[in-house]
Symmetry: C2
Subunit: 189 residues, 2 copies
Amino acid sequence: MKLLEDKIKKEGKVLEGGILKVDGFLNHRLDVKLIAELGADIAKEFASAGASLILTVESSGISIAYAAAVKMGLPVLVAKKHKSHNISDGVYTAPVFSFTHKTENTVLVSDEYLSAADRVLIVDDFLASGNAAMGLLSLIEQAGATCVGFVAAIEKEEQGGRALIEGKGVKVYSLARIKEMRAGEIIFK
Amino acid sequence: MKLLEDKIKKEGKVLEGGILKVDGFLNHRLDVKLIAELGADIAKEFASAGASLILTVESSGISIAYAAAVKMGLPVLVAKKHKSHNISDGVYTAPVFSFTHKTENTVLVSDEYLSAADRVLIVDDFLASGNAAMGLLSLIEQAGATCVGFVAAIEKEEQGGRALIEGKGVKVYSLARIKEMRAGEIIFK
């Protein structure tokens, strides 16, 4: 999606360790007009997927998931991140290792809001190593629901997450697909 | 706002310790149509406030802030929550005690995205004791910016947060104002 790629080229910052900072429009300060366009693009791509629910994870995925949900007329389920692995009743949980923060978290959703009848579209801000995606896919599997696709606003192709998700038979769609990042330069696929 | 009050009456659950659970439509599962209506109501109320920015805090405030921002044509700044009090360069920070989780966090925004010229509307999901609000107000004060109002989707009046914010000369607007909660009963003002 040219609009997002242009924005990343103009305002994204490449930090050490392969971290792309998009704080100015996607994560910390939200460019609401841009995010609404991302939502419209996602809705168009998955118009015929028969999704019943959009699943995201707090907190950077929420605005993008919301923007897509508005266009698709769907509810959003926001998986919670916890530091602890305490498992209580009535929830599905999965471990997720954060590439950015080098910590392991647990993602969690209530079983009240995810059922075997659901056709789930996952929407997140980044796809890198695919750890968060695999955690969310695990929640969907535990519920016996179907995943109709995985969307990332930004994919960092070098980190290999796409193959993991596609290996589960799930379609991957990224709005900006970065082939390579070097200091001061971002190369799109 | 009758739409929200009706939803709270129908689906909200009063837990021990004065906690109101609205997981089914506002916090965990997001009722996107309802939240869009909340955003429209906020935009109408503050149409002439001359706001330049909406400030919220991760993660439950994000969707409501986004919905208001779409209607008002404004960017959103999402304050980050941190467990630690490590203060790095280029950020404003303030301590916030969480009533629900009984923990102290730090809220943080980059000074790149909040300046003395900003007229800031704060949007959050809950107003209870006012701790989160005071933390966000402190960030605005540190930047030398102006706060044009504080919005909560749900106000729990008994916990007294309104007086703290109004004491700072800031207008408080809540979309559902709960006077009293008892087991199985929620009384609105």
